[in-house]
């Protein structure tokens, strides 16, 4: 399994990468967006606007042969702040934002569950392993890769949010040494599933 920057992927690989990104952000997307199609359109829109936390150079595909078997995206707190501002500007140009007056309300509500990492922190924005590739230690290998990248960049901590109901992922992080900072729940929204994130930290 080798790491490839998302900017270097062939079109079919990029499609597989985006499917995994969609999987990684599914709990957030189900809470915020009207449908999975809108969520996918938003991912594409962020990518083409240069506003994606999972775009180059922050997104990394893990490739075996030609197949993308996993993805991860991480960035420091300063980069995250800059990209979130860019994403808000991109949101104002996103057609669904003009058509659905409640979308902005849900994005604001969901933001209460998200961490605000500092410039010294490395933030793990997305991580997903292909469902057919699980149980082979790939998650652990990705975390090893991330932790060593973060250390070599002089970061003090690795931070992440994981959906509270994703028990296997929570266990993976705990075994790796992450400590829980607590669970944050977004306010309930009509006709939307609840959103609860466990915030976690690893001191490097």
């Amino acid at each position: 399994m080798s790491a490839v920057d998302v900017g270097q992927l062939a079109p079919a690989q990029l499609a597989a990468y985006l499917d995994l990104e969609h999987e990684a952000s599914a709990p957030y997307s189900a809470y915020v967006f009207a449908s999975p199609d809108v969520a996918k359109a938003w991912s594409r829109h962020q990518l083409t606007s240069g506003a994606a936390e999972f775009g180059p150079p922050h997104g990394r595909a893990y490739v075996e042969g030609e197949s993308v078997v996993a993805m991860a995206a991480w960035l420091n707190g300063a980069e995250l702040k800059r990209l979130r501002m860019k994403a808000t500007l991109a949101l104002l140009k996103f057609p669904a934002f003009g058509e659905d007056r409640t979308l902005g309300d849900r994005i604001r509500a969901a933001s209460s569950t998200l961490l605000s990492p500092g410039p010294e922190d490395m933030y793990l924005s997305r991580v997903a392993v292909d469902p057919n590739q699980r149980g082979q230690g790939r998650g652990r290998a990705i975390l090893d890769d991330l932790a060593s990248s973060a250390r070599s960049r002089g970061c003090q901590r690795l931070l992440l949010e994981v959906a509270e109901d994703r028990a296997p992922a929570v266990r993976l992080y705990e075994r790796f040494g992450f400590a829980s900072l607590g669970v944050v729940r977004a306010p309930a929204q009509p006709n939307k599933p609840p959103l609860a994130y466990r915030q976690m930290v690893l001191v490097l």
């Binding site: 702040k81 979130r84 501002m85 808000t88 140009k93 309300d105």
Partner: protein, 85 residues
């Protein structure tokens, strides 16, 4: 109805009162950068856009507008006044 830039700025000042106090900003000068000064983060900007649309009954759709305009006081006000007739 034509909306004046002064009306938009007065509204911004009310909306951002807490952030202004926290960041030691006393006046919303035209060239003040709302982001660099710490008054707005990404969600704050989203909130301001949504509340200004509500207040002035305008639809802000960027189209060809440079999104960076949103980050200064004068730029933000001009986007709202340009949408009114």
């Amino acid at each position: 109805m034509k909306i004046s830039a002064a009306a938009v700025k007065a509204f911004m000042k009310r909306q951002l009162a807490t952030e202004m106090t926290e960041n030691g900003v006393t006046e919303l000068r035209d060239d003040l950068n709302l982001v660099d000064s710490g008054l707005l983060d990404s969600i704050g900007l989203l909130q301001l856009v949504m509340s200004v649309q509500e207040e002035f009954k305008v639809e802000i759709e960027l189209g060809e507008v440079d999104p960076e305009l949103f980050t200064t006081v004068a730029g933000f006000a001009s986007i709202v006044t340009d949408r009114s007739v």
